[in-house]
């Protein structure tokens, strides 16, 4: 199955943090507490972000897609955080540049080179200014899930 279930326990709204490391730490710890990833995922995803930043400027608000190697993952999931205030993330593929990120999609991927449809749908969302802005203003988890699922699992 190439679908992913979005769970309310993995959606974080008004997530506060002053650095991207703090945000990553919070999100990854939650994934660990929900049994989605192993404890090693937490440090791994933080380290990966330092070496290979995942911030993406879009036509709407900037997003980030932190992720790390499959061996740290128990089961496939996506955690989504709407940040209380924008936090700088390094821009993917660049050195020394940052973008103020409002939405973080932390990916827990359990297979290499798979999940194509899911990832493609996610990138489609990144190209949809309206959806991104709608999510970034939303405070209700169930509405965020509805918004995303209508785009992800079709």
């Amino acid at each position: 199955m190439d679908t992913v279930c979005l769970e309310e326990s993995l959606i974080m709204v008004d997530l506060a943090g002053t650095t991207n490391e703090e945000v990553l730490q919070n999100m990854a710890r939650n994934l660990y507490e929900q049994g989605v990833v192993k404890e090693s995922y937490i440090d791994a995803v933080i380290e990966r972000e330092k070496t290979f930043p995942t911030g993406l400027p879009t036509l709407g608000c900037s997003v980030a897609i932190p992720h790390t190697d499959i061996e740290h993952v128990n089961r496939k999931a996506i955690s989504v955080a709407v940040l209380k205030n924008e936090v700088d993330f390094g821009i993917m593929g660049e050195i020394g540049t940052v973008t103020p990120v409002k939405l973080v999609f932390m990916l827990a991927m359990d297979q290499q080179h798979a999940q194509l449809k899911l990832l493609q749908s996610l990138m489609q969302i990144f190209q949809n200014e309206e959806t991104l802005n709608e999510i970034s203003r939303e405070h209700r988890k169930d509405i965020i899930i509805d918004l995303l699922e209508s785009k992800l699992n079709h």
Partner: protein
């Protein structure tokens, strides 16, 4: 025209390179081009120095390679995508 070998790389070799790989496959078939695509982690690129013709990557390379390098972030955000596709096509057709 020699069949070109294109490396598609990202940091983990899991997420973004999967999307870019598929987009390039679509682009090649739409343009009737045959190419070898190899999806890998950026750290694995050095194993293909002799065989690759082009590197398309979403991540920092931090190195010089004996082949051209094209930034593929546009495939994720849609911003500047037509330009990047054009650059890749030109390299493949060389």
């Amino acid at each position: 025209m020699k069949k070109k070998t294109i490396l598609v790389a990202c940091g983990a070799g899991i997420a973004t390179s999967t999307v870019v790989n598929e987009a390039i496959l679509d682009m090649c078939s739409a343009n009737n081009i045959q190419a070898n695509l190899i999806q890998c982690k950026i750290t694995e690129v050095s194993g293909y120095l002799d065989s690759a013709d082009l590197l398309v990557t979403t991540t920092i390379t931090g190195k010089d390679y004996p082949f051209p390098v094209i930034n593929a972030r546009a495939f994720l955000t849609g911003i500047g995508l037509d330009d990047v596709k054009q650059q890749i096509l030109e390299e493949i057709k060389k």
